[in-house]
Point group: C2
């Protein structure tokens, strides 16, 4: 049966989203990790497993069921069933999520402005689908960009407009990568789109330690961005994933908490703060939408309707796991996040320290390898003097036993050919030290005089 393909099915017969290079990159990374099980991998952006080992799924479900009985007045059998049956597309822990956003972020929206989704990924897909109604609607993204957002746009056929990040002064021992002076370019892109009869409908931005580049927007840039969104009439799709890793008293307000005229739709995930296996995320969309009959419902209602066409509803079992964690933390995401942030801040500081200690001295005055110094998040961006493609990664894995992610997969259009992403979230301190030692050896071969750089 399997040898016969109807009409000889070819990859080019399938949807063009499947031809996007980031898919090959993901596949290649998975394969190379399997081929080099002994390599130290700076590739995965997954949360550290230490925080998972303490979790007891059964106990979390019990906590949530007790909440259903005691606070929502459900009979025991009804509480048990709520986890097993279909549920509303909008979710069953919307009150807890809205409560946490209020408590932790000063984002004050009613429960019905929240949609609980299958990870941030589904939230991205739903928000794009709702807001992008015509072929002339363009999505601007800060470039390089998280592949989940570009993937969702490819799947829906939404054209992308990359807006370059600041050319921050990355160097060994250099300053951080704050700010996004690409705002002028964004304004120009809006004008160009309008001149061509199209429009920038939204900008996707992760203001806090973005994946992949670790960049953070300073407060002034956040304000300018909100003003620009109002001036040019576009939405801001704010990805909150890594904000929790900011140091004590170093947190900056989310765009959503500064949003005075409904420009911001928030996208969040519990994967990094709680656990990825629950696959629970959310969108916050309190924008009122006027129907043909004059009534008004929040944009979140429409996202929930679209969710009915994607996953119907987020598993109530999974929502109960996250609900149980929130309840155990007094209703706060930040309480959970603060504890976990200790690990990530330690790892990031160690990675930067080890790069300074083991790599920088070997590089001399005109370093051919530079990196940025994010103040939080999971990621550090390195610039190499050579093309950082999968062939180089293969060599690095085989000869030096260390893995990283080529950055070009994160760029919309050309870019990042000589950049790599180092993630420190999944590793232990010993692995980071040894991994940087291996990187230093690898970088040394790139810097060695007489070694020809591969053609770019």
């Amino acid at each position: 049966m399997r040898d016969l393909a109807p009409a000889g099915l070819k990859e080019s017969d399938l949807h063009p989203a499947l031809g996007e290079p980031e898919l090959d990159s993901v596949r290649f990374l998975n394969e190379i990790m399997k081929r080099h099980p002994g390599a130290i991998s700076f590739a995965p952006g997954a949360p550290h497993t230490a925080h998972l080992d303490d979790l007891d799924i059964g106990a979390l479900l019990d906590t949530f069921r007790a909440h259903l009985r005691e606070r929502r007045g459900l009979a025991p059998a009804a509480a048990d069933r709520l986890l097993m049956e279909y549920g509303p597309s909008r979710g069953i822990i919307n009150d807890l999520v809205a409560g946490a956003l209020r408590l932790d972020h000063g984002i004050d929206v009613p429960d019905d402005a929240v949609v609980v989704t299958v990870g941030a990924q589904e939230a991205m897909l739903l928000v794009l689908r709702a807001l992008f109604a015509s072929a002339g609607d363009l999505l601007a993204v800060v470039n390089p960009c998280y592949v989940g957002m570009t993937g969702a746009a490819h799947l829906l056929g939404i054209p992308l407009v990359p807006v370059g990040e600041a050319d921050t002064a990355d160097r060994a021992g250099g300053s951080g990568g704050d700010g996004m002076p690409g705002l002028d370019r964004l304004e120009e892109a809006c004008r160009r789109a309008r001149a061509g009869g199209r429009r920038i409908r939204a900008l996707y931005v992760a203001p806090d330690f973005s994946n992949p580049s670790g960049v953070r927007l300073d407060l002034a840039t956040r304000r300018r961005l909100l003003r620009l969104a109002a001036q040019e009439d576009f939405f801001l799709l704010e990805d909150m994933a890594y904000g929790f890793t900011a140091g004590p008293a170093e947190g900056l307000p989310t765009l959503k908490s500064m949003d005075e005229d409904g420009r911001v739709v928030c996208i969040g995930t519990f994967a990094k703060i709680c656990l990825p296996g629950a696959r629970v995320g959310f969108a916050v969309a309190d924008q009122p939408v006027r129907g043909a009959d004059g009534t008004t419902r929040p944009l979140a209602d429409h996202l929930a309707a679209l969710k009915g066409m994607v996953t119907v509803n987020t598993s109530p079992i999974c929502q109960a796991v996250i609900g149980g964690m929130l309840l155990a933390a007094g209703g706060s995401m930040a309480v959970i996040g603060r504890e976990r942030a200790v690990t990530y801040r330690r790892n990031l500081a160690l990675l930067l320290r080890e790069l300074d200690r083991q790599v920088a001295p070997a590089l001399g005055a005109a370093p051919p390898v530079t990196w940025n110094r994010p103040a939080g998040g999971f990621f550090v961006r390195c610039r190499l003097p050579v093309r950082a493609d999968t062939a180089l990664l293969e060599t690095c894995a085989a000869e030096h036993g260390v893995l990283w992610t080529p950055m070009s997969a994160f760029y919309v259009g050309p870019g990042g050919d000589r950049e790599i992403r180092l993630s420190c979230s999944y590793l232990d301190p010993g692995e980071i030290r040894e991994g940087v030692a291996r990187l230093a050896g690898f970088f040394g071969t790139l810097a060695a005089p007489g070694r020809a750089a591969p053609p770019d």
Copy 2:
């Protein structure tokens, strides 16, 4: 903050999928059920809760974790972590699903032909997205059609071609609604599409007791359909949701098990057999797809890649719940399904018997209300002598305390204005008896001479 909508956001600014009438219908049903909590509802197609009350989620997770340790050789901590971390987009219970399909249905595909999805809904979205690559690709659906499939098509902007079901001789005491003599119409639709420079890329069909009409394809029709798919070069998207409700020795082979040249992509769900709250479904797509480099991968690989853009992966916690159920049933879906089918067959037989007993005698020789007699599934279709819209439903709920689903929401294009769907899956026998008594009273008002039928 909430009173300000950017540029006065209107429903018409959002994606057109949100304007589809079935969404209003779903919303209306939810609202009317809340407004009439005492009404007996023949609306929900959800599985009966009796089968949920025996389930112990914690115990099922333990069963699956034991399997990971004992059969897959994972250390205890690794088994625990597998449920909490990210996982492969294709799933972690693919071997169990493939094993059950082999055991229960004679569908013999390798594990890597299976993608585990967030319910059948995500499987529908992924299969459509992969196969529909150009604006000239049309999706044929048997009309009336499950709204999950039409919804996914609307979301992706895929044009629909409705193919009418047989005009079966529904009547009180009449024969079943077997067969789909719409095949001629389907062939004609293929020709018409080709003449217009387009093509029917696939037909969505639920061969066993389809939602909403309960129709089942007989064996000869299944064979003709497979031949037609080969002749006209289209795929069959086979929805397996209700096949398990066939009586002992009454099961017909799935299209996939009869598929000799890779025409069939199977879509399944564990929502009805196991529990909806796990949100686990699957697609079976063993078709080889040739890449530009000459290598071949199953279509399922491409579905998994697209899944990365929709939900990343199906929660391993949820997969473990289903995996635990399959393991406890000796690896068989059919073993679980057979036990549950007893309830549904009892309910369906009772619903038909009560309609015969309470409704038919009152109708006389020229019955203005008729219904079909499905041999399985959750649904019975009734035809009324008046327009069965939400206004009539509102009257019926208020005056007779019984609810049903207007069928027009399931029709692509016009149709079903005088039809309703009765679902018996969620009710107990006493509720079915009393519900039919209330329906009889309601039907009586429609048949009463002198009562003007609402305008059609």
